[in-house]
Point group: D2
Chain length 245, copies 4
């Protein structure tokens, strides 16, 4: 039997303690709500900002296949050293699922090379996420679109590199669109950015949203190839130019 | 009459002072050899590492449409503040042409989000750069391939994001291949990485190599659109969900 | 002085003769309205379905740098032979701008390899085309978005290959989104699909829409590289394996 | 327990009957050699050109998750009706693995929209396939490169659309390079083109080549989403523009 994929769900976990409205929606934290939605065939762990090393020790990361990231107000409190560590693990093959306001996390900005800035509005408006890559494994089991009755709006321009694959595009009631599901590869690591999930809405209890995250975790699983060889290398073939010299 | 495109060629400019072999090939510096190859329809300036602010003051960059970058041994000496400044200008639309060992420059690594590591070998071997995007403006005027009798080898894996467009793939005598001409867009800025140009070979006097760089400069010209709007925005359409609440 | 780019605007030109409503909007035909918007620095010609060879003789196509295509009800009347001819010219470098209902033209389907099917609705609704590739030359001079007070709706899924570059995404009042500005390269030819332009609306008089088409024509200009070499070829290097045999 | 993935391996199966040299290498046909390499966790079937309907009846295709295609001399004998049928199934989600000389098959050309032409040479030369997408599932279990002592050469230009993902690039002894492993999505179907496999070499007995094909089959598995909805659709949101009219 194949070992279970090891998923680590990281959450800033501040709103849920400080804000009554958020606490009412996610009493055990956003990370727990995400984890409950992932299903039994995964080995799920949790880590939060205020743990030692933000719960992201070298060892913990070495034992992680896919990292899920939710952060919002405290991106700056994530230590640069830990960001460097996560970055290395992604290049070495660890999958990374960045959710919602995680677009502004240090790790996502470092991997993208851009500001990852966007437009936003909190106005309880309707979002409809249309599937635009109909055969993509991340959209498996999803209908034409996912409708969320109330969400925060994120609008273009979204300052990211053009995604390798664009899986979802959002329509917002207020007139904007957004590239809501974007895949990237960096080194051996697969990255999926998924827009929905403002802390005041029960988005992570939505069965379709959960399915997308579940699909993304499986899609982002490492392949386990050895680390690439870099640096000075001998030729694989005889160098005629040189022999003649 | 349209104003000339303003090109700034940046060079580390150390090898040419410290190494007799390099001095013999590029007595006035690699930057001058590149500049001479660009033609008369461009307004060309030069900047080097050891100038004040590396020759890259805010004002200088504001007056630059496309920046060409050659660096090798002293990447670490480029100040983080200047890298940040160049990064901002690229996102705002300035084109960036990164040459050869510039793959390891701070600015390229920051824009790519990866190590940009690769294999290398100095063995005077033959390189043949095949055009694989035959209609691309950067390949205009180039035949099936460019042949360089002697160059440094760079080999895969090249740890970069998959390029938006792959224009050249190199064949090396020693048995390796390399993605030698890669385009990217970051923010409003267009980026072209072009592999050839080791300091001990007269590569930048080669007419075809010069043509590629010239093409790339024109391709990377800014479009001059206004800066994107980010942050909190009012809806463009009435929000029915809200009105009903 | 550089020769003017030669643009040929092809129109089915039936609605404008048979339908009073369309005639009122485009009395001289959609092609003329498009052509008037392209500006003086181009050499513009026109061709329509009911001309001999649909106005697309070998010679005419050989003298065309960029072909603009508008068709709707009579796609089937375009002869396969002419489609084959246009296809060859695109692969050889001629640019192709496919507008609106041209998504179902034989030439576009042949180049895409898919059905190019989509959702549609004629309901006089608002469309807002958001720029999502902010540095792209096709978006030059365009603000954050283009707003059209009334257009036909086209909605996802749009069964096309993932575009090389996605320049515009449309928001529709009725709740849909659409990939409205898509670039492709096939052979040496550059292709741009641009969504707006239903025959009953004055879309092709809109200054921003005209600017996009103008930009696209310039972007799609051929580079003039020689035809690629195919077939059986002698080795460029000595074959050691063989010599040893 | 999940049902086994149903793979159908299609082979022209003429060389193996008419050519002693090929018969010696693949006495039971290339298809059997490929099938033997795919492993026990797949439900494997075979079909060949000279069977009724080329072994590709509606029913057979409906029961196929991934189709593997090898053809060479008799592409023209494949009936257009069957090609149409396969095309529909690919758009509906069936995976397609096109091998070697299958680049010129009707189905591949139809899906690509280009000639799929290339350079070639039969000279028993060495090929080295470098992995350039190190985290891609199709490269799982493969080292830095695959080396084949003797193969037919295929060289650029390869007239295909830029692949969605470029997994392998080949180095050839004679001086050429080739995009040897290319992924595409068309409709809901995933397509992988894989270069090696000339009929006179024992390439399909090579363990690494077999692993790539096996990986590709799994990667190309359908997701089973429902067929997309096309055509005239009612709005999902009230149309204010219209109400005001």
């Amino acid at each position: 039997m194949k070992d279970k994929l090891r998923v680590l769900i990281w959450n800033e976990f501040r709103h849920e303690k400080n804000n009554e409205k958020v606490k009412a929606v996610y009493p055990d934290g956003i990370h727990r709500a995400i984890g409950e939605g992932l299903g039994d065939d995964l080995a799920i762990g949790y880590a939060t900002l205020d743990e030692e090393e933000h719960g992201l020790s070298e060892r913990r990361l070495a034992d992680t296949d896919v990292l899920v990231w939710w952060g919002h107000k405290a991106h700056r409190e994530v230590s640069d050293e830990i960001v460097e560590r996560v970055h290395k693990r992604v290049l070495a093959g660890m999958g990374l699922i960045v959710l919602h306001s995680g677009h502004f996390s240090k790790i996502f900005k470092k991997l993208m090379g851009t500001t990852c800035n966007l437009k936003w509005r909190e106005a309880d408006e309707k979002e409809r996420l249309w599937v635009v890559s109909p055969g993509h494994p991340i959209a498996e089991g999803i209908g034409e679109y996912i409708e969320l009755a109330q969400e925060e709006m994120y609008g273009e321009s979204f300052e990211i590199p053009a995604p390798d694959e664009l899986v979802f595009v959002s329509w917002f009631e207020g007139g904007e669109v957004f590239r809501s599901g974007c895949t990237y590869t960096r080194g051996q690591g697969k990255i999926f950015y998924f827009r929905p999930g403002h802390e005041t809405y029960p988005t992570y209890y939505n069965e379709e949203i959960r399915k997308v995250i579940r699909n993304a975790v499986h899609w982002a699983a490492p392949t386990g190839r050895p680390a690439p060889l870099f640096g000075n290398r001998k030729p694989l073939e005889p160098l005629k130019s040189r022999q003649e010299a």
